[in-house]
Symmetry: C2
């Protein structure tokens, strides 16, 4: 598994359901286009990876560190009560890591976000505006 995987391409459903945040050679970072929760998705660029163990030891440490940092920034930015982090992939098998800001009173608190109701897209420019703010926040060191 190369870190610069020429065969990797973003899954169509992940692309269709999200707003692009940023990418580098190792990963693409997306904002779920669902205004019910501030919800970031990290997609390591490794073709064929489905389980966290497919990342290998070093890359797993790296991607989890990125996810953890994004969680911290998302928590600071949204003032949420809890970060939910998960690699599920029952529907979209391409390995992706969810990092979601959760708070009492949100659409399904304290239940999970996955499989709850229907996605509610951001309206007009609000998704792009949030994506721009998040991109700036999330890459802060």
């Amino acid at each position: 598994m190369s870190d610069l995987d020429g065969n990797w391409a973003l899954d169509k459903r992940l692309r269709d359901d999200t707003i692009f945040l940023w990418e580098d050679e190792l990963r693409t970072v997306l904002l779920m286009n669902d205004k019910r929760w501030p919800w970031v998705i990290i997609v390591p660029k490794i073709s064929g990876a489905e389980e966290l163990s497919d990342l290998g030891v070093d890359r797993l440490a790296c991607e989890m560190q990125v996810s953890s940092r994004i969680g911290d920034h998302l928590k600071a930015f949204t003032a949420c009560a809890k970060i939910n982090t998960a690699a599920i992939g029952n529907m979209v098998r391409q390995l992706h890591i969810h990092v979601i800001a959760r708070s009492p009173g949100d659409a399904n608190w304290p239940g999970p976000v996955w499989g709850f109701g229907e996605r509610e897209e951001y309206i007009g420019a609000e998704g792009q505006t949030l994506a721009a703010q998040l991109s700036k926040e999330l890459v802060k060191e």
Copy 2:
């Protein structure tokens, strides 16, 4: 945060809802007492830790590697289709990592396990028997 945290104690709800699998100085590993899914929970022994980022860089890498290995063993043992890995903690704040074997046709496939229906405890010795098998499998290198 010490690796040998004398102040750490397992959350009461985690203890009540699970069957003990094994522990070492760094973590306790539990089997959710819910026969709907083979479901392991890793609890790092760090008092006050709630978010993955509370683990720090090295310990996060370590605990995710343990989770990843447990996922591989659980997948081999159960022949499941997908491993779901998550740190949620909306209800129990003590940091714990879920590693769950999922397959088409299970109780809520492809939806999440959290918040779905009621926990169904193992009957008689079947929980302890599975726990004994899993403990043996999961510590294999």
